[in-house]
Amino acid sequence: MAEILELRDISAGYDGDMVLKGINLTIADLDFIGVIGPNGGGKTTLVKLILGLIKPMHGSIVFHDPGERNLIGYLPQVSQTDKKFPITVLEVVLSGLMSVKQGFRAYTRSDRDKAMEILGLMGIKHLHRKSIGDLSGGQMQRVYLGRAIIANPKLLILDEPNTFVDNKFEHDLYALLGELNKTMAILMVSHDVGTITSYVKTIACVNRNLHYHRSNIITQSQLAAYNCPIQLITHGEVPHTVLGEHIHTHHHE
């Protein structure tokens, strides 16, 4: 399968503080990588590197088709955006097209139809005129997901997509991601290891270093070997097949 991008021996951090060290990762078409790891281990830093929001201190990121404009769609953590900003749901979804439009052309009729179709897919078509601040956390999450996918990116990056999501939408979300994965690669950061491992294809354990696990089945002892201590949060009916023997262990700091 064709490669989309490659991280080569990357070290990165903030203000001389190294968060990630010696990272190697290749993302190819139709990958579905779950990124797990402890808080402060560098998961979000990894996302910011790939998005070009921070520059690596060492190493390089190679894009295999540098001319591609709508390479990446991105779902940020909901808490990052200004919830009182005067912008409507439809405008937020449409703004995902800015990457291909370069900002100079107005939205066309078909852009709007596409945005409405995506809102329909998310089950929030009726909210399109609402201001973003009037939405619940889960609804907002869907709007941002709509913005991320409207330009048909080759790679979809999700940072903690299940934070504010209710149980029903969580199920729908993963079903939707499975559908999207037929046409685009997905890289998903999550703290909820128990749930994501049943949807992803491979796992990247990030804790200063990155250990790539070419399967979605990972055991507690493998996690320990990867130096990847994660809190296992199990709520209710979690798929049991994916984690090793310690699935019901509750780790708290």
Partner: protein, 281 residues
């Protein structure tokens, strides 16, 4: 009141001030919506007060005070934007320093200038009744530029202002637009100092927008509604200023607050009626 309002229209100073009120409403309506949406009210206050330093220096050098204020405020606007994105100084502290430094420089230079000191009151509180045709042409040019710029780049401005990080991830010209927009905010502030004065210009950039924001959450609608509120408030303030001989800045801002109060009351009634309707159905 010895004169009829319509008799006033035959005086050019009065038509000038009406035009100034209209142009101030347009420029502040557009720039202010951006300021309020991006939560840049404090930055704008800093730029406003820093511009007083420019007025003082220009006065000392025998140059046009408005030109001095324009240069000073654009430089301080770019400086604040630069400091907040690059250095480790906390943004609000940097603004606080610039804020008082500008005022201090302005006062120092005005007082060491030999001869008559300019009418400080008119810079601090505005004097819409003495607006000249040069001021009007400058304001008209700015209003036209703002309108064209915001209409042409509306979606890109909104895209960057709403979620800067997302815009940067998509290689949008974030820095360029931030510097451009903050410079336009600085110019808007400077050209409106004549109308409402340094101390009160920030109100012209925030009260109409906050009033509009009570009724709509759409960026474009806030612009149009705050222009309308700006026109109503500034013309009412202008009349009171003329008849009672009070600095125009104070009367205009007071009119804005009055409109805000009425709007807030109407909004509460609308919400209550809404709830009653929902309970009834």
């Amino acid at each position: 009141m010895s004169e009829n309002i319509f008799d006033l229209l035959q005086y050019s100073f009065f038509t000038n001030s009406l035009l100034a009120a209209l142009l101030a409403s347009i420029t502040c309506g557009i720039a202010g919506t951006y300021i309020v949406a991006r939560r840049m009210v404090f930055i704008s206050g800093g730029i406003t007060h820093a511009s007083f330093g420019g007025i003082g220096i220009a006065w000392f050098l025998g140059m046009n005070p408005v030109a001095g204020a324009a240069v000073f405020s654009i430089l301080s606007a770019i400086g604040i934007e630069f400091v907040s994105s690059r250095s480790k100084i906390r943004e609000d502290s940097a603004i606080g320093i610039l804020w008082s430094l500008g005022m201090a420089l302005g006062i120092i230079f005005i007082f060491i200038t030999p001869g008559y000191a300019p009418n400080l009151m008119s810079y601090l509180f505005g004097s819409i009744l003495t607006v000249g045709s040069t001021d009007l042409w400058l304001m008209a040019a700015l209003a036209l530029f703002l309108a064209v710029f915001f209409a042409g780049f509306y979606h890109l401005i909104l895209f960057i202002a709403f979620d800067e990080e997302y815009a940067r991830a998509h290689k949008a010209p974030v820095q360029l637009f931030k510097y451009l927009l903050i410079s336009l905010v600085a110019l808007t502030i400077v050209l409106n100092i004549r109308v409402v004065g340094i101390i009160l210009v920030i109100s012209f950039l925030t009260i109409p927008q906050s009033t509009a924001n009570l009724f709509t959450n759409n960026f474009r609608s806030i612009i149009f509604l705050s222009i309308l509120i700006g026109i109503i408030g500034s013309i009412s303030g202008l009349l009171v200023s003329y008849f009672w001989n009070i600095p125009s800045g104070a009367t205009i801002i007071f009119a804005f607050v009055l409109i805000f109060g009425i709007a807030k009351a109407i909004q509460s009634l609308m919400i209550r009626a809404d709830i009653r309707k929902q309970q009834g159905s």
